[in-house]
Every structure is written in structure tokens, then in C-alpha cells.
Amino acid sequence: MAESDNIVVETAEKIFADLGDPQTINNDKKNSWQAPLWQALSEAGLPLSWVPDDLGGSGASLADGFALLNAAGRFAVAVPLAETMLAGWLLAQAKVTSPEGEMTVLPASPKDRITLDADGSLSGRARGVPFAKTTRHFAVLAHGKDGVSIALVDAAKARIESGLNVGYDHSDTVTLDKVQPVTLRAAPKGFDQTMMMLMGGVARSLQIAGALESMLDISVRYSNERVAFEKKISKFQAVQHNLARLAGESAAALAAATSAADAIANATSFDDEVYLEAASAKIRCAEAAEKGGAIAHQVHGAIGFTMEHILHRYSLRALAWRDDFGSESHWAVELGKLVASRGADELWPLVASR
């Protein structure tokens, strides 16, 4: 729970505290908080953190951007900040300039594919695309005859069936039917959809870890306020042990997510070690969201089950984020296959590689 010495994170935390406070947002039934928050984030250059200056962004480091996402998770903000950052990052891989405004990436699931036809148009379906309905542009990864391309697409050209995820945020199905992109470039050699999914998965891991930190925080605070049987419930050993377990899950999520972020930020390529870090983070953070969220609700009793209370803003989002960019089941199968193909005697060297 960083007392941050990082200027990007400090700026973001100040904006979140002023304009994205979960309690205020939760009380605001008309969603009038969204525009001012997005505007402040944009003015600070945060949504395009990962886009170099010459491509229209603010050129922050990968590490700073990851720390920013962790902070965003602590506030469980429901604006497409992570999505726009990922989209900008993806476009920058092929030196495509980022436009202004909200963006999202597609596909958002390792199982979906967008194809590039010979005439330069894009077709395919992507499910579970976060915020597709409310963003202006999509950064798209597409498979063509000559390999992988990265495209900027005007959202108005796509068919969008809107949906909501478990956390009540937009998670939509996007269909592209021979859509001509605004810009299209070949992806750099070696870049593929798996890398994009791992990057998205690590972004979600940091958000989940942040949400868990906040769940721990508000649960500890609540237990020190709520009185039952003439005692603060924090004095009951059973409650203490539940909170100790929540602290463990929160710590595990944070450790896994920050380690994976650090691995990607310092990697020269997405080798097996980076794969281990990124896939593990998504798996472990998703498990922590399940276990930790259940404890946070248990400690809060019925009050935490109401729409009026802010707990759901963290708990349901953490659960929803499990599904984006490959669920833990997906990555577990893939990681298991990788481990098996390398062979039993290579497992420890892989785990102990750094």
C-alpha cells in the first residue's frame, strides 16, 4: 500500500481522492461524476501514459503506468482508464498515433479472433469487451494472411451489443463486419495476441490487488467500529482470523501483481519467465478476489450486501476483472501445458529463475 514517491501515482491518487471517491460515486445515482473525473485524468495525461510523446501520449514508463493501475484499483474507478492505457500501448507497438478520448482494446478474450481481409477490412466478433459501448475508438489486434496487424478503429463502425459484467460495468460484444480501420499497421515481429492478453491480465491483476487492499482497509476499519455482544467485533478471535486471512490474500495478490508488472517492465521479450509471472499473477489474483471478497463481505455482515454501502464497488469489480483477458482457468491450463512441455526437471529452474 505504497506511500507513493511516484509522481504519476501521486497525481492520480489526488485526482481519485477529489473526483473518484467511491463513497461519493456510490451516492451519485446520475453518474454525473464520470465526465469531470475523466477530464481531470486526461488533462494530467494519465490515460495515454504508455504512449510516447511523438505518438500523442505522455510517455510514462511501463513501471509508472502499472503503479497507476494499482492505484486505480484501490479506488475501483469505473472509467476506461486501464482500457485506454492498454489501447494506447497496443497502438504504440505499431507506431500508430493515439487519438483523444476513451479507447478500449479488442479482442479482450484469448479465444476471440479478429481477421484482416485482403482488402484491408476487419471482421470478427469479440465478447466481454470492457467499455466498448462508451468509448470512441478501439485498438484492435487482427490476424491476416501475412501475420498480425494492429489497427485503430472508429467505434461507430462496429455493431455493439451492450452487456454488463458482474460489477455492473460495460462488458460488450463487438462485431466487426468488413470495417475499414482508421489506421492499420503491421505489428512488430514476434508480437502476438498472447502478449496482449498477458499485458491486459497484468493490468487487471494490479487492479484486483488494489481493490483487495481497499477491502482489507475498510473491513479492518468496520470491525473496529461495529459493536456486537457489547464488544467491537474486531476483538473476537474468529473475526481477527478472518481478517488475517484477508490480509494474506491481499498481500499475495499485491506481491504477484507487482512482481509480474516488474517482470514485464524490465523484460526484453516475453519469454517463459515473463509468461510464468504474468499468468501466475492473473491466476493468483483471481483466486484472491474470490477468497478475499468473501471474507470482506462476511466481516461487514448484511450492510455490505446493500447497494448503499461501497463494499460492492470493490468486491464485485474484483470478481468481474477475473474474466477479462483470460480467466484464471484459461491461464492455469496454458501455464500447466507450458510446465508439462518443459518437463518435470525444468519446473524448479523456471520458478527459481529470478
Binding site: 488475517a244 499485491l254 493468483r284 500447466g336 520458478v351
Partner: protein, 386 residues
């Protein structure tokens, strides 16, 4: 925010990787020479004195201690690498591990100079074995209920009472123990315990073996009858051992030994499923590897904190809690998945034999070194709940 839990992503420096290669090469040679069998965690010969001396000769004992006591002045991270490689290879570390991890650091802090000069170099050479005498028949989790008395006499103390569950007491040369030097006070029930260096194999000490459910013999009852300990064997403050004992436990709680004790069944499962696992096996293995990787990152991070001179009591307790629960569940999860391993897998018998032993080992993992409940109490205190 209430809880400042941080696990910085520490990376092991390059010199650790060099060291890791040396340790692996050494262990491979020892395995080839038949010193131990890495596939047999349940072997009867876990005490291998010549192996201890070879590890000492390599400079891998007391690695972080000052050179004048035989140490190497290397980092906690380097020690970490040696520990995990030994553990993963199922190397016979019983004879030296407690001395290296725990007893040595206690002596460094509290023993008089002539004792340090005498004992520490021998630990570094792998010549001597230590035991820990904290638990008593009616005092385990509640350390402060310990009753074994140390009564002041001419030039020292006379010890009467019983320690129990003392690992390696039957092969130990020394024990670091806590004894009652005066009754607890009304204000402070932690008062009145003192830490002593006990020389084993002396008159007035009887070691009685206790069998374990694994079929192994590892811990003991130790009965003291008018056993004499000289004054200069008092470690630290008379009546003030509680602080010393609890900080000693921090070393015991976050290392790789706290999640790797049953690791071998995972390797064996991967071997049994082969290079093209079915979806169920792949998913099971993937989850276990992700959990293992996460714990190791947390544990390395705590080693980094120790290296930086911090006292990560809560973080270490979290690692031990999650780590030991994991290593306890691991054999059972592997058993679930092993049900689908082909009859033809060449290592089927090894896997079954290992599972049998790991399942018998599992119950102790969340008890030794402080129970899960006690650890969660420490974490709760760290969260400001008590």
C-alpha cells in the same frame, strides 16, 4: 489506509545465480556419489554428518555471519538461494539447518565473546548440531506457561523439568532453551524466562525418543534432573527472554522451507502426466505453479527486507501462514490429479510412495514453528485489531 503491507518485487542479484549453479552442481555430485536420494524424502538416513561437513567446507553455513566467526559476510539473498536449492533437492540438512537459521544468529546477538569464538566456527564447518528447547508438555503456543526451572546456584544454575517435541535433540550437541528463572509477575506474565545455552550429552540430561505418524523419528522429550549450566551460558537478559525468543522466531517463519517441504510431489506429478497433459491435469498443475510462484516471490521479498535490516514480523507471519497451508494442501491436490495419471507412467510407483509420505507429513506443517492460529493472531495485531 490502515495496513501497510508491501511486498516489493525483489530480484535475486546476478551473484546469486552464480551461487545457485555452484549449489546445483555440488548437489548433483553428491546425488551421483550416492550420498542421498532426491526421490526419497522419507529415507531413514536424514542425518548425514559427512554431508554437513562438505556443505560447511563450501562456505554455505553461517553465510551472513562475520568472517571472524567463520562466516562469509554474504547476503540473506545468497543464503536464501542455498536454502531453497537444498530443500528442493531433498538434501539431508537436518544436522545443520537449525544452527544455521536460528541458533547461530541468537548466539551472535547474545553470547559472550569466548563462546562465540568457540562455537560459531564449528557451526560454519558443519560439525555441530543444535536443538531448540521452547515447548513443554503444557506449554506450546502459550510459551509463557513454561515451567522448567533454572535455580541459581554457585557459578551457575540447576535445571529441573521437561522439554518436549525437541527436534534433533538425540543428535544435538547443544540446545538453546528457555527456562523459568523467576515466577511471572502480576503485571507481566511474560516476565521470568531466561534463555540458556545447554550443552547436551552431559550429566542430568536424558533424551527420550518420540515416534511420529510418518514412521520417522525426529523429535524427543528431554528431561533435566539437576543439570548444571555455568553462568556464562546465560544468553541475554535474565528474566527477559520473551523479547529474544519472539524475534528469534521471525527467522523461522518466512524462508523457503516454509512452503517447499512437500514440493517433490508436484515435480513427480509433472513427470507422471508427461509433455501433453489433459486439460484437467494442466489446469491443476497451472494453479499449483501459480500459487507456488506467488509464495516464492513473497518469501524472496521478505528476505530482501531482512537484508535491508528491517523486522518484517507481520509479513513473515503471512508468508508462513499461506506457505504452510499451501504445502499442507499440496499432497492432497496432487493426489486428486494423480487419479488420472496413466497406469503406464514410468514414475507411478515413485509418485505413489511420495504421496503416501507427504500425506502423512502434512498435518505437522501448520503446527511446527508456531501454529496457524498463533500466526493469525500476530497478523491481527499487525492490523491493529488487538
Amino acid at each position: 489506509m490502515t495496513a501497510a503491507l508491501r511486498f516489493d518485487p525483489i530480484r535475486l542479484p546476478e551473484k546469486c545465480e552464480q551461487l545457485r549453479k555452484e549449489v546445483r552442481a555440488f548437489l548433483a555430485e553428491e546425488i551421483a556419489a550416492g550420498t542421498f536420494d532426491p526421490h526419497k524424502p522419507n529415507r531413514e538416513d536424514t542425518d548425514v554428518p559427512e554431508f554437513s561437513r562438505k556443505v560447511g567446507a563450501k562456505g554455505w553455513l553461517g553465510m551472513t555471519w562475520p568472517k571472524k566467526y567463520g562466516g562469509q559476510e554474504r547476503s540473506f539473498l545468497e543464503r536464501y538461494v542455498v536454502t531453497e536449492e537444498m530443500r528442493v533437492a531433498n538434501a539431508p540438512t537436518r544436522r545443520f539447518f537449525v544452527a544455521d537459521r536460528q541458533s547461530g544468529p541468537v548466539l551472535l546477538k547474545y553470547a559472550p565473546e569466548h563462546i562465540k569464538m568457540d562455537i560459531l566456527p564449528r557451526i560454519c564447518r558443519g560439525e555441530i548440531c543444535f536443538a531448540i528447547g521452547m515447548s513443554e508438555p503444557n506449554s506450546g503456543s502459550d510459551l509463557f506457561a513454561a515451567k522448567t526451572r533454572a535455580t541459581k546456584t554457585d557459578g551457575g544454575y540447576l535445571i529441573n523439568g521437561t522439554k518436549i517435541w525437541t527436534s534433533s535433540a538425540h543428535i544435538a550437541d547443544y540446545m538453546i532453551a528457555i527456562f523459568r528463572t523467576s515466577p511471572p509477575t502480576k503485571e507481566n506474565r511474560r516476565h521470568g524466562l531466561t534463555q540458556f545455552l545447554v550443552k547436551m550429552k552431559q550429566p542430568g540430561i536424558k533424551v527420550n525418543p518420540i515416534g511420529q505418524i510418518t514412521g520417522q523419528y525426529e523429535f524427543n522429550e528431554v528431561v533435566f534432573t539437576d543439570h548444571f549450566i555455568p553462568d556464562d551460558h546465560v544468553l541475554g537478559e535474565v528474566d527477559g527472554a520473551w523479547k529474544q525468543a519472539t524475534s528469534e522466531l521471525a527467522y523461522e517463519r518466512s524462508g523457503p522451507e516454509r512452503f517447499l517441504e512437500t514440493y517433490y510431489v508436484l515435480t513427480e506429478l509433472v513427470r507422471a502426466v508427461g509433455p501433453n497433459p489433459d486439460t484437467r491435469s494442466a489446469e491443476g498443475i497451472g494453479r499449483l505453479v501459480a500459487q507456488l510462484h506467488t509464495m516464492r516471490r513473497m518469501s524472496v521479498s521478505v528476505a530482501g527486507m531482512l537484508q535491508a535490516g528491517k523486522e518484517p514480523v507481520v509479513e513473515a507471519s503471512i508468508v508462513k501462514d499461506i506457505g504452510t497451508v499451501w504445502e499442507q494442501q499440496l499432497p492432497h491436490r496432487v493426489r486428486d490429479l494423480a487419479a488420472f495419471v496413466e497406469e503406464t507412467a514410468t514414475n507411478r510407483e515413485t509418485l505413489e510412495r511420495q504421496l503416501d509420505f507427504a500425506i502423512k507429513t502434512a498435518p505437522k506443517l501448520t503446527i511446527q514453528g508456531g501454529t496457524t492460529e498463533v500466526l493469525r493472531g500476530i497478523i491481527a495485531r499487525g492490523l491493529g485489531l488487538r
